[in-house]
């Protein structure tokens, strides 16, 4: 595994609650949740930079909405 560096993270109560909820729901450590979020954000950003679009689709309702990523 690659060398790791430590950082201090300041989160609001709401952010910490969300992190704890995701950590529990996904069965991951809080560090792993944040690592996954970073990977996902980087992947989405790189695809949008290539001109691709991100959509959420509800097959049951036949709805499709583009997610605007800034």
């Amino acid at each position: 595994m690659a060398t790791k560096r430590t950082m201090t993270l300041n989160l609001t109560d709401a952010e910490m609650n969300a992190l704890e909820e995701l950590s529990q729901k996904k069965d991951l450590s809080k560090t792993a949740v944040l690592r996954q979020a970073l990977r996902l954000f980087q992947m989405v950003d790189s695809r949008i930079e290539r001109g691709e679009k991100l959509y959420f689709e509800d097959e049951a309702k036949k709805e499709k909405a583009e997610v605007m990523v800034l």
Binding site: L28, A32, Q36, R39, L40, M43
Partner: protein
């Protein structure tokens, strides 16, 4: 790049041979891989054409080009592994860790290691129709084992998912103990397989 010593089997005399299992391979490594493999792919294709082997019996990764897959390794969610023996790349695998989630009921929605591509070198392909017996075996299993270990290291409990080429379906179902989940219309109708955390434990135990 990380390296560990593993054993693969030389088919000619069934001897165990030391090989290096490499992690953290870079986009430039994939250029080398394709540089080594492309000429052999061409030879295989010529032999298949000369022998008049029907297309359904051709190796289904014959058209792959690892040079085109190399940009993927620039992303944090991607990882590359390879096996080197006799100073040649014997097999390569690319995995993803953030864009695929478990579909099996018990762990549905939880992250897993997704095997995006796994291929062994063309000189290791077994193609009886043109008398090819393959130089080494055990490479695909070792790479799959590495994916399961990666999943454990990531905190994903060994969960692994992949879409298999039809010729590889028996390997993943019987050889690796994965569950066939269903055909995926968004992935050329390939069969999606998943290894649950319980199956991962069994797979690793049997491999010991």
């Amino acid at each position: 790049m990380s390296a560990s010593v593993v054993q693969i089997i030389r088919r000619s005399d069934e001897a165990s041979v030391d090989a290096k299992l490499l992690g953290g391979i870079k986009p430039t490594d994939l250029l080398v891989v394709e540089g080594e493999w492309a000429p052999e792919r061409s030879v295989v294709m010529q032999e298949l054409l000369q022998q008049g082997v029907s297309r359904d019996k051709w190796p289904q990764s014959l058209h792959w080009d690892w040079r085109k897959k190399s940009p993927q390794l620039k992303l944090l969610e991607s990882a590359g592994y390879g096996i080197v023996c006799d100073k040649r790349w014997q097999g390569v695998m690319l995995t993803k860790t953030a864009s695929h989630f478990a579909m099996l009921d018990k762990d549905k929605g939880k992250p897993l290691v997704y095997v995006d591509y796994l291929e062994v070198a063309p000189w290791n392909w077994v193609i009886p129709e043109i008398g090819r017996e393959g130089e080494f075996r055990g490479i695909g299993s070792l790479l799959f084992w590495r994916a399961v270990k990666q999943s454990q290291e990531e905190g994903f409990y060994g969960r692994v998912g992949l879409h298999a080429l039809p010729q590889s379906e028996p390997f993943y179902e019987k050889g690796c103990g994965m569950t066939p989940v269903g055909r995926d219309a968004s992935k050329q109708n390939l069969l999606y397989f998943e290894l649950s955390r319980q199956q991962a434990e069994r797979f690793l135990k049997e491999g010991d």
